[in-house]
């Protein structure tokens, strides 16, 4: 069985509610995203802004190929992809930083980050802030991760977290306010 039909089979299994399929899918999604991201990052100029959402969508199109995936599974896929994308981008920024080819302050264009700072954010600072948020509100950190790195809509996030879109919206608004202060974009910070 070649790799792509392997992935398609796992997606099918997942769609039927096979949890093991999800476990097996994760490393495959990870390698696929890494491959796509590596190609993008190679072309990257210093100071270039990364577009994680575009990468995730490209990975999805490759993985799902022509197959019909129902939208609930599509939402789940983006939930997984968001985690992977965050990992890929952070690893990349750390490696660059270690190799002294960058200052570790690579900018990343995140839908949510734009709302927080109205600008692109340094990926490592954003990642560290999310880790701190996860210490006292892990559910909220996951929600932010899905919106920021996976390009999921409020409706898709609501499906994954088994809640309503209006709750997602309210939680997101809370997270934005917290991140604005945490990242030093709030007016109270000197």
């Amino acid at each position: 069985m070649d790799r792509s039909s392997d992935i398609a089979g796992l997606l099918d299994g997942w769609r039927r509610g096979d949890r093991e399929a999800l476990e097996q899918l994760l490393p495959l999604v990870y390698s696929e995203l890494r491959r796509i991201a590596a190609r993008q990052l190679k072309k990257e100029r210093p100071g270039h802004t990364l577009q994680p959402t575009a990468l995730v969508h490209e990975a999805y199109l490759r993985l799902a190929e022509q197959r019909q995936v129902d939208w609930q599974n599509e939402a789940h896929f983006f939930g997984v992809a968001a985690q992977v994308m965050r990992r890929v981008l952070v690893d990349h920024a750390r490696r660059r930083s270690a190799a002294k080819r960058g200052d570790g302050a690579e900018l990343v264009s995140l839908e949510l980050a734009r709302d927080v700072a109205s600008t692109d954010l340094p990926i490592l600072a954003f990642d560290a802030a999310l880790d701190r948020l996860a210490e006292f509100d892990p559910e909220l950190a996951v929600l932010v991760e899905m919106r920021a790195f996976g390009g999921l809509s409020n409706e898709q996030v609501a499906v994954i977290l088994k809640t309503s879109p209006s709750t997602v919206k309210r939680e997101l608004r809370t997270a934005k306010a917290w991140l604005t202060n945490e990242l030093g974009y709030g007016g109270r910070h000197e």
Partner: protein
């Protein structure tokens, strides 16, 4: 649940209850709900301030006249940072309105959302200093609050091609 987490959930619950109220009612509501717990009140107020600042584009915003912003600006132009017709990010510069202490202000067209905004462009040397930027944000909030005391003030702080801008 750790102490920190329990505390955060108190802050979060009060914040979420506060944003259900109109901006004018929030301060009194939070003060009453927090009672003697000054830390709780301060933490929620700080979130509310950040919320007002980062209000997203789907929130309702007033149609603000740039002439009110113009009236509060000193009539001084010592350095041109943009000229009419310039495109900065998605903003097209329409006319110069004046200069404040921390940068130049222009009337501009937001080509994405098709609305007129005031753009405050911060000179590079100031933008590199976080303290200056904080002051620019404060100044923006002050300007906006003069016109609409109860409504979330600035549209955002944006960066394009190394130029820092405050969207009013």
């Amino acid at each position: 649940m750790s102490d920190g987490a329990a505390r955060w959930h108190e802050v979060k619950a009060l914040f979420q209850a506060a944003i259900e109220r109109s901006p004018a009612e929030r301060a009194a509501f939070v003060a009453a709900a927090a009672g003697n717990d000054d830390d709780l009140r301060r933490e929620v107020e700080s979130l509310l301030a950040a919320d007002a600042q980062s209000a997203s584009i789907d929130d309702v915003r007033p149609d603000r006249s740039t002439s009110a912003v113009r009236a509060t600006l000193p009539n001084r132009l010592d350095q041109q940072l943009a000229v009419v017709g310039d495109r900065i990010g998605s903003y097209e510069v329409l006319e110069s309105l004046g200069a404040g202490s921390m940068g130049q202000v222009y009337r501009a067209r937001d080509t994405k959302l098709n609305r007129d905004v005031a753009l405050k462009i911060v000179p590079d040397v100031m933008a590199k200093n976080p303290g200056h930027l904080t002051q620019v944000v404060r100044e923006g909030q002050l300007l906006a609050s003069l016109n609409h005391p109860n409504i979330a003030s600035i549209y955002g702080l944006e960066e394009s091609r190394g130029v820092q801008m405050l969207i009013l």
